[in-house]
């Protein structure tokens, strides 16, 4: 009886181990390849060298990396500033047209990012703002596609907050502004930061939008890596890939320590 019960579970664990191998294998192999001593992406690596890691920090790559970081940071900031009032409206108010505005806000999650990109490219060109291509178009597009992440996360933290806390403060004589400043905002701060980091990560890892609106010289790291791939798969790219994986990972690990970002990721999905 006991063995019969354990068997399916053992089988499941075996499957799960294989699936983890599938998930982590390519990332592990990419890491290994970056230490090749040759200039080709051999696996298993031939020899050991750190020169590709050195090359990954050359200006040619630092420039797009810095560009991506700045773009993602600015995008996350704007998405949060725009996202807080939206989240308040969705979580705290009933008003005509709410469903429509919510659909517009979350729309970029439904519409493929690539379509958002070509639509923006064509729209700006058609209305004569083609000169906005490059930085402005990138920033606008990234805010559009990252906004749903900050709005949803902030709205979740507003909904999770017991309304009685605010009523209590108001009942004790605090003005609405004081309630907002001393009760509401401190309580949703973790949610705001979680939303900000989701927006940052989504912007930092985007390729489908940037591909169409970025200009040479102002390219995010993902576009730079992709266009360099045409010239072959140098181990430098493996090193760069790992660097651009580590940045969001560090951000989440750091934030996870302070605000438990995992809870938000989880709740977000559960609420659809």
């Amino acid at each position: 009886m006991r063995a019969g019960r354990l068997q399916p579970w053992t089988l499941l664990v075996a499957c799960v181990v294989a699936i983890y191998g599938f998930i982590l294998g390519p990332i592990a192999i990419t890491t290994a390849v970056s230490f090749n001593a040759t200039n080709r992406s051999f696996f298993p690596p031939r020899g050991f060298s750190l020169k590709w890691w050195g090359e990954a920090f050359a200006p040619q790559w630092l420039q797009p990396l810095q560009f991506s970081l700045e773009l993602a940071a600015l995008t996350a900031l704007i998405a949060t500033i725009v996202g807080v009032p939206l989240a308040f409206a969705f979580a705290r108010h009933e008003f005509a047209g709410k469903g429509l505005i919510r659909a517009i806000t979350l729309g970029p999650l439904i519409l493929p990012t690539l379509v958002t990109g070509i639509a923006l490219l064509q729209f700006l060109t058609t209305i004569g703002l083609g000169r906005w291509m490059g930085y402005w178009a990138l920033l606008i597009g990234h805010v559009v596609i990252c906004l749903p992440f900050s709005v949803r996360t902030i709205a979740i933290s507003l909904q999770a907050m017991p309304g009685s806390v605010e009523s209590a403060a108001a009942g004790l004589g605090a003005s609405p502004l004081r309630v907002l400043r001393h009760v509401t905002l401190p309580l949703i701060t973790p949610g705001v930061f979680a939303g900000m980091s989701f927006a940052f990560i989504h912007s930092f890892t985007d390729i489908n939008l940037s591909l169409f609106v970025a200009k040479p010289g102002q390219r995010p790291i993902t576009v730079a890596i992709l266009s360099f791939l045409d010239f072959g798969f140098a181990p430098t790219l493996a090193a760069l890939s790992i660097i651009s994986l580590l940045i969001p990972l560090l951000l989440v690990a750091l934030l996870g320590r302070f605000i438990g970002i995992g809870n938000f990721l989880y709740q977000e999905q559960a609420r659809g």
Partner: protein
């Protein structure tokens, strides 16, 4: 809420006006104009305003384009199936395990979400190329003489996308398993059903909406994916996203590009309706 709603009825509009205006101008209007322009004659990269079905006719009459469209949806379906197939056991394990490492295991299974698709696809190129991991291992074992040609291929694209989209399946199915009333499974087992039978008769059917949701999510992202098909595919394995890139950037032939974009928009809306219809049915049930 303490604040009287009547006195503050203008408040929500004040809150949403600026963001909604921004989205209207930079998201809705561009998408709508892409849709309408797909039905217009183009002069290079500018729609002329003359209505025509030419763009769609072109896409649906040239084998090259039809094949790309068909390949896109086949890839999407295959990726959706594989994602569900692989993420169900993983999600089930993560929800049911009592391991101390549970949180770490969840984090690791979701970590790929933090990496750009490029990072995730690069590893597959290293594994599958002519001098790649698989070929060097097989050759050193003496199992093959000549390297296997695995790239570019549609299968490689499917494998790469499955890998990239697996976390979405895991999240969706975990949410569905977490929402399951544990008493139902207990009841089945107390009535004498084995663990395996309980799983197939109770757990699996009740989490079917999660399975369908995971499939549709992976499908929707897969049909518009660019980087993976661009890296693991080639001229013989074009999909809609790589074609759109050619139209919009290389050949500056925006008419058919807009038409392909329109096909993606319509598919996305159809998938959304399908998903919410399934969600409604689940609530009714």
């Amino acid at each position: 809420m303490l604040v009287s709603n009547q006195r503050r009825s203008w408040m929500p509009y004040l809150l949403v006006a600026a963001p909604a205006g921004f989205l209207l101008f930079f998201f809705i209007l561009p998408a709508a104009s892409l849709l309408s322009a797909s039905l217009m004659e183009y002069d290079g990269s500018l729609p002329t305003g003359e209505w025509t079905l030419e763009n769609f006719e072109l896409l649906l009459t040239r084998p090259l384009y039809i094949n790309a469209i068909i390949r896109t949806f086949v890839v999407g379906g295959a990726v959706g199936l594989l994602v569900v197939l692989l993420s169900y056991p993983l999600a089930y394990f993560l929800v049911r395990t009592t391991s101390l490492w549970r949180n770490l295991l969840i984090a690791v299974s979701l970590a790929p979400l933090l990496a750009s698709v490029i990072v995730r696809t690069y590893g597959w190129w290293v594994i599958l190329n002519r001098e790649g991991a698989i070929n060097s291992v097989l050759q050193s074992l003496g199992m093959i003489d000549k390297p296997l040609i695995m790239l570019p291929s549609t299968v490689a694209i499917v494998v790469g996308l499955t890998h990239a989209l697996l976390p979405y399946g895991v999240l969706t199915i975990m949410a569905s398993l977490n929402g399951l009333n544990p008493n139902l499974e207990r009841a089945a087992m107390s009535l004498g059903a084995s663990r395996t039978r309980t799983f197939f008769a109770v757990t699996l059917p009740l989490t079917a909406p999660g399975i369908v949701g995971g499939f549709l999510l992976a499908f929707a992202i897969a049909i518009s994916a660019y980087a993976t098909p661009a890296i693991l595919g080639g001229p013989s394995t074009e999909v809609m996203a790589t074609m759109i890139r050619n139209f919009m950037v290389s050949t500056l032939d925006w008419g058919p590009g807009a038409a392909m974009g329109a096909i993606l928009i319509v598919s996305a809306i159809a998938l959304l309706l399908l998903t919410s219809w399934i969600g409604d049915r689940r609530r009714e049930a």
